[in-house]
Amino acid sequence: MSLKIALIGQPNCGKSTIFNYFSGYKAMVSNFPGTTVKYTVSQVVFQGEEITCVDLPGVYSLTSTDPAELESRNYLLAGEADVILNVIDASTLGRSLELTLELMSLERPMVLALNMMDEADRKGIRIDAPKLSEMLGVPVVPTVAAAGRGLTELLETAVQAGHVGVRPVQVMFSRDIEEEIAELSDRLDPDQARELGLPWRFLLVKLLEDDPHLLAEVGRRHPGCLPIIRNHQKILAESHGRSPEIVISSERHALTVNIFEAVAKVTPSQKPTWRERLDWIATHKFWGYVLLLLVLTLFFQVVFRLGQTTENFLVGYLDQAQKLGGVWLGKDTLTYYLLVEGLFMGIFGGVAIVFPYLVPFLVGLALLEDSGYLPRVAFLMDNLMHLLGLHGKSIIPFILGYGCSVPAVISTRILESPRDRLVVSLLAVLIPCSARSVIIFALVAYALGPYWALGVYLFNLLVIGILGRISTMLLPEVSPGLLMEIPEYRKPTWHNVLRKSWYSLKDFIVVAWPILIAGSLVLSLLKFYGFDGHVNDALRPLTALLGLPLQVGTTLIFGIMRKELSLIMLNEALGTTNISAVLSHAQLLTFTIFVLFYVPCASTIAALSRELGWKQAGLAVVISLGLALVLGLLTRSFGALVF
């Protein structure tokens, strides 16, 4: 049996960064709370010993509310971890210790990582780590995970703690609460804790605290105990004049304040730092939006300029190679179709058309994510989200959606209500993911200019806004207010940015590229044998309705596999990489809008049916297809007026 180390801590304290350091790059890391929504496991060999590391979603306390948090809680309560590695953001030590006290009561070997020591330093917080370790009875290791400082020592300490079986000190509450715990302990049977695999004292405190999950569990097994528990809760509540949960959580808070004051000295700086000034601008009711617009414009310009230059350069060679191939092999031979139109264009179409936009897009998105700017955007957008009847927190799936719809759908787990999860999932898949962004850049920006591309994005947001408003009317529910921690700005480390971009790019190379190549081969065969005509004929009603050339039909079918495929296919179906010579501006725009909204790609449909059920996934397919048709028609008429 290998040693199991579980990383747990409050959201955005750097668990995943530490985990990635141990495991190689396996977990997504960003500078906003709630990036990890399900746990990731990795095997690590350390000093000749095999260790299992588990990265759990962040929790503020062990009384969990959303499904992502529940996952952490269940994992910990199942007692699977041999060592609990509690990661703490040292710059918010006071608050973070409350979770630590709860974890200590699980009576497992435990190690504390005081992460982000550099940030604590900057905020003028000095922490006496040895003293903290002495007070809690667990080893404390100061770390700066982003710079890799202290992490080897941390792992070493954790492994040792597992072998030695470090015991945290018992957290003692004030006398009257302890009396209540003791009395409840006399009246219940310790076997109940053994049945649940929990420490006896932990169960007693949680029951007094009115923990709904454990109360239900105990009530199911021993219904006779419930009145006894309720009675003691009542005594506690009456003597304090507050509900029992509040009594105990305040107690824990008081304990952490004492610990904090004993181990930390705070000397705040008087002058506002550049971070504070930047924050003032970034969240200002006027300048905040100006900055947002500037950042977005810069983002689009850079991605587009870089992409366009590279694409032009590469496509030139691609065209020459295709012509050469035609001369060598003969234009109408099967070998030409298979090798040049199919294989060659499939392989290098990906390189020349998708890569130039995908790479800067992914790097740019990673930079934005890691800098900590996105939570500020969530703050600015809160009004807008409420106008749509959505929770401010639902901005996160939308933001992730610009990268890929699959994580966007999974991240809806951070939302508490099923109704919000449904609405946000259905809307978030309409956000142009990186694949669809490539199409927008390569078609619209390339032929009509970058501002048209920006226009497509804004139009997309407008449509999502209107749909959100409609869904609020159909499924009304008071949306809970936004409450979100805004993390510090952090200088993105190139290491993480490149790793993260590579991670997404690898997904394209491993998953999408083979599909692109296979799809390209299939299309070339269909073309050679003249079958593409049948497919196109079958889709004639659709293409005719949208005013698109007949040959476009097959590309739309392939686009369901991977959205990039419809772009590569478009080149092949029309027989040129110079698409703007064959399609009018109106047609280009109509095609892009249609591809942007119609049927989510196969992986997204799979994610949707996993998270919401196949019925809802089916609903998403039908709705998006209908929507794409309506919007395609609108774009066609718009194009007829403008161009």
């Binding site: 710059s91 905020k123 969240t283 809160d382 809970p480």
Partner: protein
């Protein structure tokens, strides 16, 4: 005493009361909070007796407040449920 939501950017105040009058929030059965988010306040470090500073307020929309070393973005609906006393 006034609700936190009425403070102007730059003002500091002490938290006097979190108005948790409703019996229970249906999501997590946390004490009283009508919007579920109110029960998160304690988790984020905003408790009675703490000093809060309003950093920015976007018109009728969300507020950005500072508590200890943490910055919290909150909807005005939440902010109106937090009673505070102005500090100089």
């Amino acid at each position: 005493m006034l609700p936190l939501g009425l403070l102007a950017p730059g003002e500091r105040a002490e938290v006097v009361e979190l108005m948790l009058e409703k019996p229970s929030c249906q999501h997590c059965r946390c004490p009283g909070a009508s919007p579920h988010s109110l029960c998160r306040l304690g988790d984020l470090g905003l408790r009675v007796g703490k000093t809060v500073e309003v950093l920015n307020a976007s018109g009728a929309g969300a507020l950005l407040v500072k508590v200890d070393e943490a910055r919290i973005a909150m909807n005005r609906g939440v902010a109106m449920k937090i009673k505070v006393r102005r500090k100089a």
